[in-house]
């Protein structure tokens, strides 16, 4: 890679990866799509107008790629695959964790898309509220409020069980 492109990669790769992980929650997919994101980004470097931060621009590309991947998956499989974390050694524990994940997933689906995205970005991607605001084109305060309101709603939906 040329120097400038390599700098771009070094600077933002990790964030793009975390962003993708917060969208798909699959480590392998996030890694692959991160590489594809940068491939595409480097090809389209000319179209970047600088009206958003590089991070936001890259996350936009990443999100598009993730949706393309979702579309491809929906064409090949029927059921929506839930989180693909590897099974632990303890089967009883695994069953417990699976049902927990299932409950969480379904509860998440009850939130509106934006709130859900904020939650994943914060919890999975560990982004700051400022970063979340930038990515979603909103303010930091908005992101913070959405986050906590989202958690409150989530807990309500989950029946008030402390998880």
């Amino acid at each position: 890679m040329a120097q400038r492109e390599e700098n771009l990669y070094v600077q933002y790769a990790e964030q793009v990866y975390r962003y993708l992980f917060s969208l798909c929650r699959e480590a392998d997919t996030a890694e692959d799509l991160t590489q594809e994101t940068f491939c595409q980004a480097l090809k389209n470097l000319r179209t970047y107008r600088g009206d958003s931060t590089p991070q936001v621009w890259l996350c936009g590309i990443a999100k598009r790629l993730w949706y393309k991947e979702l579309e491809r998956r929906s064409r090949t499989t029927d059921t929506a695959d839930l989180s693909q974390t590897p099974a632990p050694d303890n089967p009883a524990q695994e069953v417990e964790e699976r049902s927990q994940r299932m409950a969480l997933y379904q509860a998440m689906q009850k939130l509106d898309a934006e709130t859900r995205e904020v939650l994943y970005l914060r919890l999975s991607g560990e982004f700051s509220f400022r970063e979340i605001g930038e990515i979603l084109g909103k303010s930091e305060v908005w992101a913070r409020v959405r986050f906590y309101r989202g958690k409150e709603r989530l807990v309500t939906v989950l029946g008030g069980n402390s998880v």
């Binding site: 990669y9 070094v10 790769a13 990790e14 990866y17 975390r18 992980f21 917060s22 929650r25 480590a27 392998d28 996030a30 890694e31 692959d32 991160t34 590489q35 594809e36 491939c39 989180s83 974390t85 927990q100 969480l104 939650l119 994943y120 919890l123 999975s124 991607g125 560990e126 913070r144 409020v145 986050f147 906590y148 309101r149 958690k151 409150e152 989530l154 807990v155 309500t156 008030g160 402390s162 998880v163």
Partner: protein, 325 residues
């Protein structure tokens, strides 16, 4: 009054929970929470830890180098297939093992004429071929054969070894032999070496043979005649003598024979009687001799080269980063 405070406190909660509120505000909110169970519940709910997987830490360098397991599998399988194909191409050329079966196969594959057989100078398809023996010297395999046809064609197949310990035929000689049994001789000479091949065919009743050679030595113009007597112990045999052995047998150690021709052959039975005439076939004249030679190895090498190139391209396709599924 309480109701109004609750709405405000609710709005303030996100900021309060992040410790971003002014100290006075913090104190006010805390005091309210102590007395208001609804707002306290809301705060609890907002504080809850949600078990969502965090993105696992990835070493940044791994990004650039990561190649999936399926990609490796694809690359390795295709490289193995290509290597197999290259081995097969090589084996088709270096095809014959240094065994009786190998020698026979080499003779049967190579010697009969493929098309438009010349009446006298070719061996026609279907002619029985017998291998009389094989000798390997200096990484060259000589296989002596006899054809059971009108001209009693005899000759030698010359083979060279490959890396797979099998041999490829480089050339073969075809010569008429005006005898039904006896010793057929042939000399092979080039700039590097001189060899004399003697092959015995059907010598069951023959116990001794006397050959008269006419030899031209390197460095002298005049040919010299030698008589050599051999005692025969096997019906079929094959000897290959190199120049040192020849020079020694003629008492000219150190000299190099340049050309050798058999002037006369005499065959004797176990009682010492000259039985040469019994084996002579006057129908056959020793007036021709041909050599069949193989084309070079270039076609093998460029085929293997193309396969290797193909293998490299396929492997690169699989190991491409990132991998487009």
């Amino acid at each position: 009054m309480k109701k109004l405070e609750c709405c405000i406190v609710r709005d303030l909660l996100p900021t309060y929970l992040e410790d971003l509120t002014e100290p006075e505000t913090t104190e006010l909110v805390r005091a309210h929470l102590e007395t208001c169970p609804d707002c306290q519940k809301a705060a609890e709910q907002m504080r809850t830890q949600v078990p969502v997987e965090k993105a696992p830490a990835k070493h940044p360098l791994r990004f650039l180098k990561r190649v999936g397991r399926m990609q490796w599998a694809g690359a390795i399988v295709s490289v193995l297939l290509i290597l197999l194909a290259m081995g097969w191409v090589y084996d088709r050329e270096f095809h014959y093992a240094n065994t009786e079966a190998g020698w026979q196969a080499a003779a049967e594959d190579y010697l009969p004429a493929k098309s438009d057989a010349d009446e006298t100078m070719d061996i026609s398809a279907g002619t029985p071929l017998r291998v009389l023996g094989a000798v390997e010297r200096d990484r060259t395999l000589y296989v002596a054969y006899a054809a059971d046809n009108a001209e009693h064609v005899h000759g030698t197949l010359i083979l060279k070894p490959g890396w797979n310990h099998k041999y490829r035929i480089v050339q073969a000689t075809l010569n008429p032999f005006p005898y039904t049994a006896g010793i057929f001789t042939e000399s092979f000479g080039n700039d590097h070496s001189f060899r004399l091949a003697l092959m015995g065919d059907g010598c069951r009743e023959i116990y001794t043979a006397k050959m008269t050679y006419r030899v031209t030595w390197m460095g002298s113009e005049e040919p010299v005649f030698y008589e050599q007597t051999y005692s025969i112990e096997q019906s079929n045999f094959f000897w290959v003598l190199d120049e040192t052995e020849l020079a020694e047998s003629f008492g000219r150690t150190g000299q190099i024979p340049q050309w050798l021709v058999v002037e006369k052959m005499q065959l004797f039975d176990k009682d010492g009687n000259d039985v040469t005439a019994q084996y002579q076939d006057s129908q056959v004249e020793d007036n021709w001799g041909t050599t069949k030679a193989s084309v070079g190895l270039s076609h093998v090498y460029w085929r293997m080269g193309i396969l290797a190139l193909l293998g490299i391209l396929i492997a690169r396709y699989f190991l491409r980063n990132p991998w487009k599924r």
